[in-house]
């Protein structure tokens, strides 16, 4: 029986080629999108799962009075907490960012590289976490001046030679130090903790290795720069422990900053447990949810296609059902037969989807910026749920069709009466409306995402990033001659004719601030104002001019003010937000006023017009500008001609003054727009989803039009004999479907508006949703639908009426 069912199913597929291709292709496309997204979701959910003690590890985080959380805490808490709280069985600290610098392998002719994916980590790093140690003993990191490097880094610095016990020099803000390579590791891609080089934190225990940066002392409770992870005894109530930790903080911390300690389960560091979880995470749960919804919607469109086409096509098979019933088939056996066919179509669709996934994977990975494969699916149990959904969906769509078919009355089918019924018509219409509603909503979302992206990229930022080349400052050779060499370099740069402007500063627009800090007050401040956070930017006297940032009131820093040592400086500038935050009624009022930074008195010499230092997702922060000759970033505005020669010239000058340092630069406008990478990713993804959805929906529409034309052949013939034109017939055949698209648009509009509105809430500066966007999306859907329908409608309209009338 099974053999026969399969045989007839296959023959039916071959016989009805158009339907079969549309059905299989539609399902394959739907399943492809679903599998790709399922891979991504599975990958995201698999983050950090490889740590054996994942369930007992927690990250210590700060939460301020506004509920903002951040994971960088003072390094001294780990020891203090372990000493006084027995629930903590061990801890591991590691930092990210402060170690950044230039690394060179010792030896002749070795090349220095600027490294940013490096950090100092606790000696037990490779015991506390479960990274794959390819060479070396984990405990070796407990000794000072040791380093563990990734396999990739080993090849980069040492080629094929064994790097163990080789020496590397790290030059960074802590000066120059030598480290002996003691291990090679491999960190899986689904790890939030990612390093190419792990230097022993133990090194910083020695004050001599801090190079005057006492803020980094490992027992200090003043500077927040380190990640602290605790391993707790099983069954510890971490919520109670959080309170104990905050109590400890309140007892020992001198500044009363209102910050409380929170413990974030390591398992929730990448993706939070729910959307209401506001703790800082490295992944984006909202994104995962949006993608999952898109995957499901596309799959739904594919299944709707299947149901539509199968039920439409089923009328053609009514006769077969009649005959089978007459020769003894029961409804049950017919359901089984048609369900078998549905399973066959789904299996074909699934097989084709696997091929498509393999083909599309590289492009998908490029958009998602991940290295994922079909094997990624199995990293979490989600694939079981995903596949169960595929099976259940396929069965449900199959059962509906099978039931409809098997329910035909044999007497009616054998009289060919069924081809004239409207059985399933309403369902088909509903499904077409749903398919187009989903598609139109996706088109709307795509248009709005790109509008927002364009808005962010084109908005006047209050500064000029064009032609601004930012050169990373040197790390190597910061000796007693450094100041003089730096000054000489900047003078040479200034004298070059192609240089329109330049500045050296601790930060740049599009980069983050030097740091965020609180403790600023003015005589009129209220209690609690000292807890307000301000962004801190270290700049020189050329910063405002170079970036074309305007002054609102007062004056800029002088060259002399920038030359004053950090602790001796008494001048600052504010931006308009900071002036307002401090309680000044206007920019002018703030000028020449004294403000306090904890105990230090600072004079406001000027107020800078608000400009966007960070992306437009974020509202302009209140900023404090501090004068210093800092050379972390040296920015040069170039002319538009001879760019290549100009950069080469800068490199020559740079290498003359800072030999041994790699010359690294980037263009600021490109860098600023990199902040919108996620939105660009969203845009690409929604475009793909919208095109995908519309294509599948149109495949279905094409199939339904074919069916409609076939079942109305005689009608078309009679109409033509009576004088109908091609336009009349096309209008007749397309009118019904276009009405459905209009209904779909009416349903999609409010749903899309609601979804987009909620997405836009994440942006401090956003586009308003214009009415014409809806018209464009609706019109586009109508046009595409009409084009799809027209193919068959015009063909039918142009056919010979005599032939049409012979068909019955």
């Amino acid at each position: 029986m099974f053999r026969l069912y399969t045989k007839i199913a296959w023959r039916n597929l071959v016989r009805n080629k158009i339907y079969s291709v549309i059905n299989v292709a539609g399902l394959a496309l739907g399943i492809t999108a679903f599998l790709l997204i399922l891979e991504y979701v599975s990958f995201e959910k698999s983050y950090n799962n490889f740590h054996k003690n994942l369930r007992n590890i927690y990250r210590l985080i700060n939460e301020d009075v506004k509920g903002v959380t951040w994971p960088q805490v003072e390094p001294g808490w780990a020891m203090k907490a372990k000493e006084s709280l027995p629930e903590i069985t061990s801890y591991c600290r590691f930092e990210e960012g402060t170690a950044k610098g230039i690394v060179r392998a010792d030896g002749e002719n070795t090349e220095p590289f600027r490294e940013s994916d490096i950090g100092y980590a606790e000696g037990n790093f490779f015991e506390f976490f479960d990274f794959n140690l390819l060479k070396g003993q984990a405990a070796a990191l407990k000794a000072p001046n040791t380093v563990f490097i990734s396999q990739k880094t080993a090849t980069k610095y040492f080629g094929n030679t064994d790097p163990i016990d080789k020496v590397m020099t790290l030059s960074n803000q802590f000066g120059e130090a030598k480290y002996s390579v003691k291990g090679i590791f491999n960190i899986p891609e689904n790890s939030d903790i990612r390093y190419e080089m792990v230097f022993s934190l133990e090194t910083l225990k020695n004050p001599a290795n801090l190079n005057g940066n006492n803020w980094a002392a490992l027992d200090n409770l003043g500077s927040q720069y380190i990640n602290t992870y605790f391993q707790l005894s099983p069954n510890t109530d971490y919520k109670i422990l959080e309170k104990k930790l905050t109590n400890l903080r309140n007892q020992l911390k001198q500044d009363k900053d209102g910050v409380v300690f929170r413990l974030q389960p390591f398992a929730n560091v990448h993706l939070p447990a729910s959307l209401s979880d506001t703790y800082q995470t490295t992944g984006n749960l909202k994104y995962v949810y949006i993608l999952t919804t898109i995957a499901f919607l596309i799959l739904l469109i594919a299944w709707f296609n299947y149901i539509n086409l199968s039920t439409a096509n089923s009328l053609k098979r009514a006769n077969e059902v009649g005959v089978r019933k007459i020769v003894g088939a029961t409804q049950g056996s017919l359901v089984m037969q048609f369900l078998g066919e549905s399973i066959l179509v789904n299996i074909l669709g699934f097989s084709l989807a696997l091929v498509l996934v393999t083909l599309i994977q590289p492009v998908f990975n490029q958009v998602m910026k991940k290295e994922i494969t079909l094997a990624t699916l199995t990293r979490t149990s989600d694939w079981i749920r995903g596949f169960a959904l595929l099976v259940v969906g396929s069965l449900l769509s199959g059962i509906y069709t099978a039931y409809t078919l098997s329910n035909f009355n044999p007497v009616e089918t054998l009289k060919n009466k069924l081809t004239k019924t409207t059985k399933g018509g309403y369902l088909r219409k509903t499904l077409v409306v749903s398919q187009f509603a989903i598609s139109i909503a996706l088109v709307l979302a795509t248009i709005l995402i790109y509008q927002q992206l364009q808005y962010m990229q084109n908005k006047n930022l209050g500064m000029n990033a064009n032609q601004m080349l930012v050169i990373r400052g040197p790390e190597i050779g910061r000796d007693s001659t450094y100041k003089q060499r730096k000054s000489s370099f900047l003078n040479q740069v200034q004298s070059e004719s192609f240089v329109q402007d330049f500045t050296a500063s601790g930060t740049y627009p599009g980069g983050w601030y030097n740091f965020n800090t609180s403790g600023f007050t003015q005589p009129g401040s209220k209690s609690g104002d000292e807890l307000k956070s301000y962004a801190f930017a270290i700049i020189d006297n050329r910063y405002l001019d170079a970036y074309q940032i305007k002054l609102k009131a007062g004056r800029n820093f002088t060259e002399a003010e920038c030359a004053v040592e950090w602790n001796d400086n008494s001048k600052v500038m504010l931006n308009e937000r900071a002036a307002a935050e401090l309680g000044f009624m206007s920019a002018e009022e703030a000028v020449n006023k004294k403000i306090k930074w904890d105990e230090r008195a600072l004079e406001v010499v000027g107020v800078v017009k608000d400009y966007h230092h960070t992306s437009l997702q974020r509202a302009i922060d209140p900023m404090i500008f501090y004068p210093q000759n800092n050379s972390t970033y040296m920015a040069v505005r170039l002319g538009t001609q001879h760019m290549k020669q100009d950069i080469d010239r800068l490199e020559t000058l740079y290498k003359l003054s800072f030999s041994g340092n790699p010359f690294e630069y980037f263009f600021m406008d490109e860098n600023f727009n990199k902040q919108y990478a996620t939105e660009q990713q969203y845009g690409q993804l929604f475009t793909a989803a919208a095109v995908w959805a519309i294509f599948i929906a149109c495949l279905g529409l094409f199939g339904l039009t074919t069916f409609s034309v076939e079942s109305r052949t005689k009608e078309i013939g009679i109409r033509k004999v009576l004088g109908a034109s091609i336009t009349d017939i096309t209008r007749l055949l397309s009118g019904d479907f276009l009405k459905l698209v209009i209904i779909a648009a009416v349903i999609a509009f409010p749903l899309a508006w609601f979804g987009i509105q909620s997405w836009l809430q994440d942006f401090a500066y956003r586009v308003s949703i214009e009415w014409w966007v809806f018209i464009i999306a609706g019109a586009a859907a109508m046009l595409i639908a009409f084009a799809t329908i027209s193919i068959q409608a015009i063909k039918a309209a142009m056919s010979n009426p005599v032939k049409n009338l012979r068909t019955e």
């Binding site: 077969e320 005959v323 007459i326 020769v327 003894g328 029961t330 409804q331 056996s333 007497v411």
Partner: protein, 225 residues
């Protein structure tokens, strides 16, 4: 074998009520060959559908081998049908996607006959209908007469007690028509009861008795010589 008494069937639409069978009564004995004749719309096909357990009567009694089947549910009707009744239609009603062999095999599959046994029975039936050489062809590859021979083979393959034929020669030329009528006569001579709806007086002559219908009622019965 068949006894119907006061059988009624009324088709209703929103505006029109059509009486297809109006208190119809007659009997068909085992081994009989009965032809049912009458003008279009007199209720012949409705009668055949009810006799074939494809449709329910609205009222009246239908005894099949002494069992009241008028109120049987779909499952019981399907069961009774597949073991006892074979159908031959004017338009053959073969499944286009199945070969000749597979079409004839179909009733045996639904009655659960084993594969090897099916092969033997189907080949026997095809042999008897002289269509064995076309066993692997599809219906579209056959002439009308050949298709009807396949349909008759499918109707008899389960060895039914009753064959219901609905204008079996309606789509055939006279030569092929005569061949099919001869097949039915042969089957009847071997003991199969046959009820045949026809417009053809020529075909009716093959039967033992002709029931003439008008407006859902029997108007005359003739015994054939």
């Amino acid at each position: 074998m068949i006894k119907i008494t006061n059988l009624e069937k009324i088709y209703r639409t929103e505006e029109v009520e059509t009486v297809a069978l109006n208190k119809l009564s007659f009997e068909v004995k085992e081994g009989e060959f009965v032809a049912v004749m009458g003008p279009s719309g007199c209720g012949k096909s409705t009668l055949l559908n009810i006799l074939g357990l494809l449709d329910d009567p609205d009222a009246g009694s239908f005894l099949f081998n002494g069992i009241e089947v008028a109120k049987f549910n779909e499952r019981k009707r399907a069961d009774l049908r597949k073991h006892n009744i074979g159908f031959v239609f004017q338009s053959f009603n073969l499944i286009d996607e199945l070969t000749v062999f597979e079409n004839v095999e179909l009733p045996l599959i639904y009655t659960g006959v084993k594969t090897a046994e099916r092969k033997r029975i189907v080949e026997e039936a095809l042999d008897k209908m002289q269509i064995m050489h076309r066993r692997n062809h599809y219906p579209q590859q056959l002439s009308g007469g050949q298709q009807q021979r396949v349909a008759v083979a499918r109707a008899v393959v389960n060895n039914p007690k009753l064959i219901l034929a609905d204008e079996p020669t309606g789509n055939l030329d006279s030569s092929n028509g005569n061949e099919v009528m001869q097949l039915l006569t042969d089957l009847n001579e071997q003991g199969t009861t046959i009820v045949m709806v026809t417009h053809s007086e020529h075909d009716a002559r093959y039967s033992h008795r002709v029931i003439r219908m008008l407006d859902g009622q029997t108007v005359m019965e003739n015994l054939m010589a």
